[in-house]
Symmetry: C2
Subunit: 165 residues, 2 copies
DNA sequence: GTTATTGCAAACCATTTGCAAGTGT
DNA sequence: ACACTTGCAAATGGTTTGCAATAAC
């Protein structure tokens, strides 16, 4: 939906993470660096499991345990680099939240695919509503459920990920 | 936010549930009836655990197992009587979805309280966006995070539910 | 050296499920 | 009889955690 490379990012995700860790007296270890790099090498949404798998595929010989992946994902979220977008098949799904504009998702109930969309009006409406009840709004999560174009086609259905189950 | 009794409901939740069950060749057992009644006796949002607790409190002598509660909640959702609104403390949170207008929630990060709001413009915007990508939209879930008025007050804070943890 | 971090295995915990006994028609 | 249900206890499965060994500064 949006070209990552075209965005204005003055500091690399790794650098940003290091800064965050520093404020907490924590270190940017090899493992953490490996994880941030892998996470930001690809824009797809992902869950912990998929990330573990991707890292295992790497030929670099570097290995990171599942626990460390979980711990690091949490920290990346705290650092404002990632955010949880949804829950699919009982797993938390993450996406980049750094150098990436606010947006929401259409979620296909059939194939679980996520489709991003961006609309400023919604945020504006929310601002107004929040103000009314003196709610200090930080962020929102909007998931729109339905069936995507591909899965709506009666005959030639595509990416039926859920068929695997 | 909205007075339940004032809504136009021609068929009782129990009746509606019975109808749904019938279409599936299922029965409205004592247990299921007990659960629907309890669920619709109160408008607060709730999770499975709280419901189990509420039912255990009842002096009626009737008991329903946790499994049955879970199974029935799922069926009430399928019947369109309940819907999952959010996840709080790793638990699915339900609310009535029958005789209750579409709405969304402000969720206080401090006390976990949910504040409902209703806005038709958002649904309208979504319709337009969905149409663009030929997405057959069914429903949406919008959670707005932030800090509620009470929790914003520096000195006299209220309902700090999370302090219990 | 001291403090943070990792990996492993075990623990957690909400939710689901297999199954034998029970219930509705 | 027959099909659906229940409750129990056990399983599931994503995520978290205790702890001894290891790495960063």
């Amino acid at each position: 939906m949006l070209n990552f490379e075209s965005l204005e990012i003055s500091v690399s995700p790794t650098e940003k993470f290091k800064e965050y860790l520093a404020t907490k007296g924590k270190r940017l270890t090899q493992e953490r660096e490996f994880i941030v790099t892998e996470v930001f090498s690809n824009h797809e949404h992902f869950d912990a499991d998929q990330l573990v798998f991707r890292m295992a595929q790497q030929k670099t010989g570097r290995k990171v345990s599942r626990s460390t992946v979980y711990r690091t994902l949490t920290q990346l979220e705290e650092a404002g680099l990632l955010r949880k977008v949804a829950r699919t098949n009982d797993k938390d799904v993450y996406e980049h939240d750094y150098g990436y504009p606010q947006h929401d998702h259409f979620i296909c109930k059939s194939c679980s695919e996520l489709f991003e969309f961006q609309n400023d009006d919604i945020a504006e409406i929310l601002e107004r509503l929040a103000e009314k009840i003196n709610f200090r709004m930080n962020e929102h999560r909007l998931e729109v459920y339905g069936v995507c174009e591909d899965c709506s086609r009666p005959t030639q259905r595509r990416h039926k990920k859920l068929d695997l189950i």
